[in-house]
C-alpha cells in the first residue's frame, strides 16, 4: 500500500474552534514556533499538555517527550506549534501555569537553537527504482537499517523540511510507510535554557 506525502504530514490537533477566532481582529501573521518545556516526569503530565492544546484550540504540529534527567525526574517536551505572536504568547503562559511545569522557552524567538527529527522510511521496489532510492538516500545521508531483496528501511535525521523532501522523493520510488519522531530541539551555546 502506497502512502501519499500528505498522509505523513505531521499530526494536527483537529479542534480549531472559537479559541482562535477572537484573534481574527488582529491581522498578525501565523508562524511556526518550537517550544521547549521542562516538566516533572509524573503521571498525566503529557495529558495535561495535550489537553491544554486541544481544549484551547491550539495547533500541535509535532510533539516529543522523554525523561532527560533521571535523578531529578524531569522530562523535556518539545512542541512545534503555529500561531500569531499573541497566540504563541498565550500558549507559553498557559503552559507556564500548569503545576508540574518548570520552564517554558520559545526556542524560535528567545534564542538560537538547533532542531532535529529522526524518521524511519520504508521503500519497496525492484530494479531501477530500488537503485535510485538507495542513491538518493546516500545524498541525504540516510542509513539503511533494514534491507530485503525488495525493500529498504532508511533512517534519516535532519530538520523537518529535509525529511519532508526525502519522503516526497521516495513516494514515486515505492514508499510504503514512514515513522517520524517529531522535532527535538536545544538552545545553541554553552548554557542550559
Amino acid at each position: 500500500m502506497g502512502l501519499s506525502p500528505l498522509a505523513v504530514l505531521r499530526y494536527r490537533v483537529p479542534v480549531r474552534g472559537a479559541g482562535l477566532d477572537r484573534f481574527s481582529m488582529s491581522e498578525q501573521a501565523t508562524a511556526t514556533h518550537t517550544i521547549s518545556v521542562l516538566v516533572d516526569n509524573e503521571a498525566g503530565v503529557l495529558a495535561r499538555v495535550i489537553g491544554l492544546f486541544s481544549g484551547r484550540g491550539y495547533n500541535i504540529d509535532s510533539l516529543t517527550v522523554a525523561e532527560v534527567d533521571q535523578a531529578a525526574q524531569m522530562s523535556r517536551i518539545t512542541v512545534v506549534t503555529s500561531g500569531t505572536p499573541q497566540v504563541i504568547e498565550q500558549i507559553k503562559a498557559q503552559l507556564g501555569r500548569l503545576v508540574p511545569v518548570h520552564r517554558v522557552v520559545d526556542l524560535t524567538v528567545e534564542c538560537e537553537s538547533v532542531e532535529r527529527e529522526l524518521a524511519l522510511v520504508k521503500v519497496s521496489g525492484k530494479g531501477e527504482a530500488r537503485v535510485e532510492a538507495l542513491r538518493l538516500s546516500e545524498a541525504f545521508r540516510a542509513r539503511v537499517v533494514d534491507a530485503t531483496p525488495e525493500s529498504f528501511v532508511f533512517e534519516i535525521t535532519g530538520n523537518g523540511e529535509k525529511i519532508d523532501a526525502f519522503i516526497e522523493l521516495m513516494t514515486p520510488l515505492g514508499l510504503q510507510e514512514a515513522s517520524r519522531t517529531g522535532a527535538a530541539a536545544l538552545a545553541r551555546g554553552p548554557e542550559p535554557m
Binding site: 481582529m25 488582529s26 495529558a47 489537553g51 503562559a93 507556564g96 503545576v99
Partner: protein, 585 residues
C-alpha cells in the same frame, strides 16, 4: 520517627494541619475509611449534602464568604462526576477548593470496576491541578500540596483522588512545613518598572477609570482597603465586574455601578470613552468587553493580574503587571504618594461632568406598578429591609442574578456569592448553605429564580438538617427569564421550552421540607412578608410572584459595543443583532 498511621488518618491529620474546620460531602463505598475516621473525631464538622454538586457549591460559598479554602469529600464514580460542575465553576471563578474523591482500590483501576471513573482524567480540564495517590507515603505531601496549590497564586479547585486500599494502608505522616513545591511558585510582587509606568499613566490621565474584578476579593480584605485608599486619593471613577462587587462601597459617589452586558450606562460609557483604564484583578471577560474590536478604542490599558495567562488573552494591554492585587496596590500607592503627583483637576472635573450627564440618564429606572410586583422593586425592597454588614447574598443564574447585582448594594467584600464565569443555575441554594456554615450569625439570602432554584432544591434538606437558616428568595416569573428575554429579542418571541411548566407550590414545598414558606403576590404585602422572612428562625422559601415578562436592562446585545446599549425605554423596540452577534452567547 513517628508511628505509622493509615491513609484515612493521614487525610484527617492533613485537614487539621491545614486549618480545616468544615467539610461538605456525601459518603459512598470508596470513601468509607475516611468517613469512619471522621466519625471518631470532633475537630472537623462534616456537612452532609443531598447531591455532590451541592457539596461543591457549598464549599464555594464557604470559601468566597470566609476567605478560607472550601473542602469537599465525595466517593468514586458518580460521586466524582457529580462534583464536576462545581469544580468547573470554582475554576472559572478562581475559588480555592480541595476536593477529595474516593477511588476503587489500585489493583482494580482500569478494570471498569463498580463505581469506577477516571476521575483525574475527567477532572484534568476542570481543576487547577489534580492528583491520583497510589502510594500511602505520598499522601501527606499531596494533601499539603493540594491546599498550597488551591489557595495560592490564582486560586482554584484541586482534586485528590485516593484509592480505597491507600486509605487503609499504613504510612508515614509529614507536617505541612516539610513540603515545598518544586515547580509551582506563584509570583505575588509586581515588577517595579511596570508599576512605575502604570503610575505615570495614572497620574497623567485625563479620563481615567478603575475597572476592578474578583481578583481584588480573592486577594483578601487588605486589597479592598488599598483599592479604596487609591481610588479616594486619585478621585477617579470606579466600576467593577459582577465578581468584584463589594470590593468598593456602592454608596460612594465615585462608584459607577457594575459594568458589562447588564452594567450601568455610566460605567459602560466611561469604559468606552476613557483614556486610561486601570484593570485590577479582572480578566476582560466577554460579558465585560462586548465586541472586542470596538472595546475602549482610545485608552491606554493597565492590567494587574496574578495569572500571566490572563494578560493579553482577550485584550492587548499597554502595561501588564503580574502579581497579587494587594502586593501590587501597596507598591503602586507608595510610588504614587512618593511622586507627590496631583491629577489634572480641570480634566478630571470635565470627565466627571460627562459621567454625571450619563448618570442623569438614570439607566436603572423602571416603570413602577402598584398591582403586580416588579422584580426590580422586589430586590430594592429586599435590600432596604435586609442591608447590613452581616447580610450575605448568593444568587442563581439568570435575570434575577442581574437584578440582584443591579439593585442590591454592597459595601464590603465577601458578601456577594454568584456564579460568574460558568453561569451555573443551581449555584445559589448550596452556596447559601456554605455561606451560612462559615457565618452562623449572618443573614444569608439566595436571590433566586424559580427555574434555577429547582435545580438544587434538595439542598434545602441539608439546611434543615444542619439548622442553617438560609432564605431562598425566589423571583417567580414562571419563566427561565433570561432564556425568554433572548428568545424575545433574538428569536421572534418563540418561547421554546422556557416556560416553567408544572411548578410546585413553593410554600407547600418548604413545609414538606420542614422549612417555612412565605408568598407575596402584591406590592402592598411585600414589605411585611420580607420582614416575616427575616424574623423566621429557620430556613425559608419566599415565593415572590413577579411580573412575568420583564426584561433585564440595560443590555449590550451580543456583538455590540459599550456605547450601543439597550435601555429600559427601548422595551418593545426591534433589536438588530448581527449574524455574528447571534452566534455569540
Amino acid at each position: 520517627m513517628e508511628k505509622q498511621i493509615n491513609g484515612a488518618q493521614i487525610v484527617l491529620q492533613a485537614l487539621r494541619d491545614n486549618g480545616v474546620q468544615h467539610i461538605f460531602g456525601y459518603p459512598g463505598g470508596a470513601v468509607l475509611p475516611i468517613y469512619d475516621e471522621l466519625f471518631q473525631q470532633e475537630d472537623i464538622e462534616h456537612i452532609l449534602v443531598r447531591h455532590e454538586q451541592g457539596a461543591t457549591h457549598a464549599a464555594e460559598g464557604y470559601a468566597r464568604s470566609s476567605g478560607k479554602c472550601g473542602v469537599v469529600l465525595v466517593t468514586s464514580g458518580p460521586g466524582a462526576t457529580n462534583a464536576v460542575t462545581g469544580l468547573t465553576d470554582a475554576l472559572m471563578d478562581s475559588i480555592p477548593m480541595v476536593c477529595i474523591t474516593g477511588q476503587v482500590p489500585t489493583h482494580l483501576i482500569g478494570a471498569d470496576a463498580f463505581q469506577e471513573a477516571d476521575t483525574v482524567g475527567i477532572t484534568r480540564a476542570c481543576t487547577k491541578h489534580n492528583y491520583l495517590v497510589k502510594d500511602v507515603n505520598d499522601l501527606a505531601r499531596v494533601m499539603h500540596e493540594a491546599f498550597y496549590v488551591a489557595t495560592t497564586g490564582r486560586p482554584g479547585p484541586v482534586v485528590v483522588d485516593i484509592p480505597k486500599d491507600v486509605q487503609f494502608a499504613m504510612g508515614d505522616y509529614l507536617k505541612p512545613a516539610a513540603v515545598k513545591h518544586k515547580s509551582y511558585q506563584p509570583k505575588v510582587k509586581g515588577d517595579m518598572e511596570a508599576i512605575n509606568a502604570a503610575v505615570d499613566l495614572i497620574a497623567n490621565a485625563k479620563k481615567p477609570v478603575f475597572y476592578t474584578g474578583g481578583g481584588v476579593i480573592n486577594s483578601g480584605p487588605q486589597a479592598s482597603q488599598l483599592l479604596r485608599e487609591f481610588v479616594k486619593l486619585t478621585g477617579y471613577p470606579i466600576t467593577s465586574t459582577l465578581m468584584g462587587l463589594g470590593s468598593y462601597p456602592s454608596a460612594d459617589k465615585q462608584w459607577l455601578g457594575m459594568l458589562g452586558m447588564h452594567g450601568t450606562y455610566e460605567a459602560n460609557l466611561a469604559m468606552h470613552d476613557c483614556d486610561v483604564m486601570i484593570n485590577i484583578g479582572a480578566r476582560f471577560d466577554d460579558r465585560i468587553t462586548g465586541a472586542l474590536d470596538k472595546f475602549s478604542p482610545d485608552s491606554k490599558k493597565i492590567h494587574i493580574d496574578i495569572d500571566p495567562s490572563s494578560i493579553n488573552k482577550n485584550v492587548v494591554v499597554d502595561v501588564p503587571i503580574v502579581g497579587d492585587v494587594a502586593h501590587v496596590l501597596e507598591d503602586m500607592l507608595r510610588v504614587y504618594k512618593s511622586r507627590a503627583v496631583t491629577p489634572d483637576k480641570k480634566a478630571l472635573s470635565s470627565w466627571w461632568q460627562e459621567i454625571d450627564a450619563w448618570r442623569d440618564r438614570n439607566c436603572l429606572a423602571y416603570r413602577k406598578d402598584d398591582k403586580a410586583i416588579k422584580p426590580q422593586y422586589a430586590v430594592e425592597r429586599l435590600y432596604e429591609l435586609t442591608k447590613g454588614p452581616d447580610t450575605f447574598i448568593t444568587t442563581e443564574v439568570g435575570q434575577h442574578q442581574m437584578w440582584a447585582a443591579q439593585y442590591y448594594r454592597f459595601e464590603d467584600p465577601n458578601r456577594w456569592m454568584t456564579s460568574g464565569g460558568l453561569g451555573t443555575m443551581g449555584y445559589g441554594i448550596p452556596a447559601a448553605v456554605g455561606v451560612q456554615v462559615a457565618n452562623p450569625k449572618g443573614l444569608v439570602i439566595d436571590i433566586a429564580g424559580e427555574a434555577s432554584a429547582m435545580m438544587t432544591m434538595q439542598e434545602l434538606s441539608t439546611a434543615v438538617q444542619h439548622r442553617l437558616p438560609i432564605k431562598i428568595f425566589i423571583l417567580n416569573n414562571e419563566y427561565m427569564g433570561m432564556v425568554r428575554q433572548w428568545q424575545e429579542l433574538l428569536h421572534g418571541g418563540r418561547y421554546s421550552n422556557s416556560y416553567s411548566e408544572a411548578l410546585p407550590d413553593f410554600v407547600k414545598l418548604a413545609e414538606a421540607y420542614g422549612a417555612t414558606g412565605i408568598r407575596a403576590e402584591k406590592p402592598s404585602e411585600l414589605d411585611d412578608a420580607i420582614k416575616r422572612m427575616v424574623e423566621t428562625d429557620g430556613p425559608v422559601i419566599f415565593d415572590c410572584i413577579v411580573t412575568k415578562e420583564e426584561n433585564c436592562f440595560p443590555m449590550i446585545p451580543s456583538g455590540a459595543a459599550h456605547n450601543d446599549m439597550l435601555l429600559a425605554d427601548d422595551q418593545g423596540l426591534e433589536v438588530e443583532v448581527s449574524d455574528e452577534g447571534k452566534a455569540l452567547v
